[in-house]
């Protein structure tokens, strides 16, 4: 009897055991190491020397770029996260429509996600070149003088957003899988009741997929703060440092200026910010995310009676 009870308490831990082992073996060491290094001056080619809170103090009091990059990344996240999610959801809805040939469109929307980031960034650099780029050439054919995308700071962040929205396919696929998981009879019941497609979307689809909305929201907040490859290759942080994202700032401190201790401090400050935002989102999620496992989810009643 005792053994059985022990087994019962142990079961959940057994399920998460692989992750716990992985965390202890692969993750926690490097994490703690980088936290410790954030209190050191570490020029990479020489041994680290302790400097207490020096890195953090420097960041908040002397380094103007810290606040600038932070603002840029916050701004980018504020535009990119909702925009990307709306596009992804919109596309996911489009590709679930029962029309002919939709499979082909599904693949088309997914192609850009498959293309390597390095090639995509270089390609966009060509397309968006102000003087000799294809986009402005096409615009000139219809009599519009295109902006200097990668030269004018006012347009550059938009250029980055356009180029990054290109890779929205993964998020689309996540929404798509979730929407496809909704049993068809839920909709059938609704259309018999005479609900319009828009109503169906807002009262059935949206509530059921709130768990994946939460997932996409949190992961895209994280990824927008860590955006490096695209800006490094497309804009190099320019023009006039207008796209010098926090991720690039951290990367450059580490690998260009060889200040690994300082970069670690950058990373941990970013960690605190993202953690705070995530906690905020999670706190709010109890009001808008509906899980089937919890009592009273939106789809609960409808599905509950179905299984027999």
């Amino acid at each position: 009897m005792k053994q059985k009870k022990l087994m019962k308490t142990a079961t959940p831990y057994l399920f998460i055991l692989p992750w716990i082992i992985g965390f202890l073996v692969f993750t926690i060491g490097p994490l703690i190491f980088s936290l410790i290094m954030s209190f050191f001056d570490w020029p990479l080619t020489a041994d680290p020397t302790f400097r207490g809170f020096g890195n953090y103090i420097e960041m908040f009091t002397k380094d103007k770029q810290f606040f600038k990059s932070l603002t840029i990344s916050l701004k980018y996240a504020a535009i990119f996260v909702p925009l990307n999610m709306i596009i992804a959801l919109f596309l996911a809805m489009l590709i679930t429509q029962p029309v002919k040939g939709v499979k082909i469109f599904r693949t088309i929307y997914y192609i850009p996600t498959v293309i390597s980031g390095v090639a995509v960034s270089i390609l966009w650099g060509w397309i968006l070149n102000g003087d000799y780029g294809v986009l402005n050439y096409l615009l000139s054919l219809i009599g519009i003088e295109g902006p200097k995308w990668l030269v004018d700071p006012a347009w550059a962040i938009l250029a980055v957003i356009i180029a990054s929205a290109f890779g929205v396919g993964s998020m689309m696929l996540i929404f798509y899988t979730d929407i496809k998981n909704i049993p068809i009879d839920v909709y059938e019941a609704a259309s018999i009741d005479g609900a319009s497609p828009a109503r169906q979307f807002f009262s059935i689809t949206l509530p059921i997929i709130t768990p994946t909305i939460l997932f996409n929201l949190i992961t895209s907040i994280i990824s927008s703060f860590q955006q490096v490859t695209l800006v490094m290759l497309l804009t190099g942080g320019g023009p006039l440092k207008s796209t010098y994202f926090y991720g690039l700032y951290t990367y450059n401190n580490a690998f260009k200026h060889h200040k690994l201790g300082y970069a670690s401090a950058n990373a941990w400050v970013m960690f605190i910010i993202i953690l705070f935002l995530t906690a905020l989102v999670f706190k709010s999620s109890s009001a808008w995310v509906f899980y089937e496992t919890e009592a009273g989810g939106a789809g609960k009643k409808k599905k509950g009676g179905k299984k027999s």
């Binding site: 990479l44 003087d131 030269v151 004018d152 320019g238 023009p239 006039l240 580490a254 200026h257």
Partner: protein
């Protein structure tokens, strides 16, 4: 059921272990291969086909030495990230290509004692200027392998179309400006000259040298140098060219625009030669123009050397390989991808008679007296980042900042 799941997991795991292992082991690293040879890791920044050529050269070395085994590692444009990570974790390659000595010298072996052992003739056969670029604070950290200076590339077809004489080695900037004007006026949709909107500060200092100044003095003071009258003249000249519309400030190096035939001239290193030939262009190259009334123009040097890691376990073997890699034989073989750095080879191969290479050597010979700011200033990479922003502010058409104010502000840091 549970047991079966567990055994499936273990099996699958073991499967990947075996597949990914490829020999496995190697936890103990004593710098020896399994058959007792000294193991040398050699990192290059070259790409694609060039790596095959290098592999063949490495193979030959391995055949000639039964106690050393060199393995080639090719990192292309990601070279810096890899080397930085390697040094940070004390596992840098034994031998590596190197140019940025101020940033990496701490992790590199001093080579002066090795060089001395080879006798005086050894050192003297290298172009003298190159030693300055391969050392820091009087200590040598790399053996020169190749170099490039900058020179003025021009498109022969465009000059023909504009009906003007091609550039010569004794051009001044006034000549260039006049030609650029004519090209822009006569050739529809073309610009006479291009330069980078966001020039690398390391490169751009050469124009200041040519006009008799520099970013800083020997103590690293910017004020009175970066914002001197001569420096301001240089920036003003470039900004005027752009503003008056006969030069274009390019987003990248300007190579694409030049090869596309959209611009008539640009200044760049010998890296461009391969791609110009590939694009089947009719091009020429001459020395960088000088400033009227000033001495001959100067060029920055982009040198590549071969360095040994301070942490290498087989330094003697590494030196053996470095000597091989920088030998006359290999200098000769590399012509076409790397310009020889040995007097004897330049002479034997008649490099000075080849019109596409000669300007780079002439620029080398007249640029010996200058030391880039990166060798004088501590934390150059951070200064370079802020200088880069200042220069961009001056040349970016959406800001076009006032030259004098910008440089004064930049010098005050």
């Amino acid at each position: 059921m549970k047991k079966r799941l567990v055994s499936i997991l273990i099996l699958a795991m073991a499967g990947t272990m075996i597949f990914s292992g490829c020999g496995g082991g190697g936890g103990e690293d004593d710098g020896k291969t399994s058959d007792g040879k000294a193991k040398i890791r050699f990192a290059t920044w070259d790409e694609a086909e060039d790596v095959d050529t290098q592999q063949a050269m490495v193979d030959r070395f391995n055949e000639e030495h039964d106690d050393i085994e060199v393995t080639l590692e090719a990192y292309g444009g990601e070279f810096d990230t890899k080397i930085a990570a390697g040094m940070g974790s004390k596992d840098a390659p034994d031998v590596m290509y190197m140019w940025n000595y101020p940033a990496y010298a701490n992790g590199l072996e001093e080579l002066d004692s090795y060089i001395d052992k080879e006798g005086a003739d050894y050192k003297e056969n290298f172009y003298e200027t190159l030693w300055n670029y391969n050392s820091l604070d009087g200590k040598t950290y790399g053996i020169p392998v190749g170099f490039t200076t900058h020179a003025l590339f021009y498109n022969r077809e465009i000059f023909k179309e504009a009906g003007i004489a091609e550039p010569t080695n004794d051009w001044t900037w006034d000549d260039l400006i006049k030609a650029a004007k004519t090209i822009t006026e006569k050739c529809e949709g073309k610009k006479g000259f291009s330069f980078q909107m966001k020039p690398d500060p390391y490169d751009f200092e050469m124009y200041l040298w040519s006009n008799g100044t520099a970013y800083c003095d020997d103590e690293g003071n910017l004020d009175g140098n970066l914002n001197s009258k001569e420096a301001k003249e240089v920036f003003q000249m470039f900004q005027d060219m752009e503003e008056e519309g006969y030069a274009v400030a390019t987003e990248k190096s300007g190579g694409d625009e030049f090869r596309a035939g959209s611009t008539g001239m640009y200044i760049y290193g010998s890296w461009a030669i391969d791609s110009l030939n590939e694009a089947e262009m009719n091009w020429g190259v001459v020395k960088i123009p000088s400033f009227a009334g000033k001495g001959p123009s100067a060029s920055i040097l982009s040198s590549s050397g071969l360095s040994i890691s301070k942490d290498s376990k087989n330094k003697e073997a590494a030196w053996e390989f470095v000597k091989y890699w920088t030998s006359e034989e290999l200098n000769t073989e590399r012509i076409g991808s790397e310009q020889p750095v040995l007097y004897s080879v330049v002479e034997a191969e008649k490099m000075m008679e080849k019109p596409e290479y000669a300007p780079f050597y002439e620029m080398l010979e007249q640029s010996g007296d200058y030391t880039p700011a990166s060798f004088k200033v501590e934390r150059w990479s951070e200064l370079a980042e802020s200088l880069s922003l200042t220069f961009e502010e001056v040349f970016n058409p959406s800001s076009m900042a006032d030259v004098s104010d910008s440089l004064d502000t930049a010098a005050d840091q």
